[in-house]
Amino acid sequence: MSTTDVVVTGLGATTPLGGDVASTWDAMLAGRSGVRALTQEWAGQLPVRIAAELAVDPSEVMERVKLRRLDRSEAIALIAAHQAWADAGLKDSGLDPERFAVSFGSGIGGAQTLLNQDDILEASGPRRVSPHTVPMLMPNGPAAWVGLELGAQAGVHSMASACATGAEALSLGLDIIRSGRADVVMAGGTEAVIHPLPIAGFASMRAMSTRNDEPEKASRPWDKGRDGFVLGEGAGALVLERADHAIARGATIYARLAGAGITSDGYDIVQPHPEGAGAIRAIRRAIEDAGITKADIVHVNAHATSTPVGDMTEIAALLTAVGDHPVLTSTKSMSGHLLGAAGALESIATILAIRDSVVPPTINLDDPDDKLALDVAAHKSRQLDIPAALNNSFGFGGHNVALVFTRA
């Protein structure tokens, strides 16, 4: 390992599968689904009445008064970031704040605040609109809060690339450290839009599963019966650190973030390029950036959201850019699709797969698509020695982000 490598030294998450990384990972390895029927009154009128809500509500771990001034996406970003900070041993470590940056994003941002405050505006007038509204709904809010609470002074950056946001935030963190602008970056993604309007919008696009009667079976990437993604909420945070900095302070190193590739399709606002051209270029760049070859990639945590078109486009891209040898999984089959947090959570899963030599399962893959020409760890987790793995993220707007992690 070169001293200028970038390594991962801390992980944090709050997800539909657990309130922290350990419980989330245990649930993944056990093949548990975090998807449930929505019991809120507003759900009754919607065509989609299922989602993957947080396993641990922020109110269980954060003070009420603090929550009043945070959008849910900001609250969970803070919860995940504090976990990662403690996990990395950086709490009260005397880290130079001018060498510490934040790269954190959300796909949609403070939509719940915007919509809830609009309800107040309509019902009670402008004077009753909370003075916290703007800092709660601004898209840089999660990154800004994380930077504020952890004391980052080397820059606080906000990504927005839809469902590729979390991965792009990690990629920017890699760039920041490589370019010498910081020694440590808190990177990740957050999303909390389980609210009737975003659900109605995605449902109107016919992008979501309507398997309302079988919530736990609704997210089924690559299965013939797949009918759309399941919306999830959550946040994932990763401490990225220059390798020599991590070694000097005796930090525990999970893995290397060895390479990243970012491309844009330039094709359609929501449809992926039919041959996955942009995805292929992103994957190739990430592998090249990592200084390895496609033969080295033995595991892929795929984007695979359980949509009819997207899942198979990614398979075609993987066959071209990597080959037919890696063992795939889509942890979205269990967590649902965390949109802007997906790339962060799935990077955590990829890193833990490398650490524990195990591929978490893709549940609900009962009847694989005829074009699924790759080996998927269906139903059960699978032991596998993983020196290098790939994590893909694609977002509305034609964003493609591929990340390569290797064993440190």
């Binding site: 003070e63 008064v65 603090k66 001034r69 004077r127 003075p131 916290h132």
Partner: protein, 80 residues
């Protein structure tokens, strides 16, 4: 007509709700910002809630003069 003690107690309830201030810490001589850690955005919430609770109008240019709990009590007492 509320007494000063009743107004103080009403303000303490508001301060607890919007800013997490312990009601036992609320007294007339306490400064909102220096003693009770109420920041500028939370102060706006306190004002709006106090207007509703006590049926008064607290103009924005008056808010800057309300440094202590006692200042606010006096204003509410004189105007409600």
């Amino acid at each position: 007509m509320a007494t000063r003690a009743e107004i103080t107690s009403g303000l303490a309830e508001i301060l607890e709700e919007v800013a997490g201030v312990n009601p036992d810490d609320v007294a007339e001589e306490k400064s909102f910002t220096d003693d009770l850690d109420v920041d500028s955005l939370s102060m706006v919430e306190v004002v709006v809630a106090a207007e509703e609770k006590f049926g008064v109008k607290i103009p924005d240019n008056e808010v800057q003069n309300l440094k202590t709990v006692g200042d606010a009590v006096s204003f509410i007492e004189a105007n409600h």
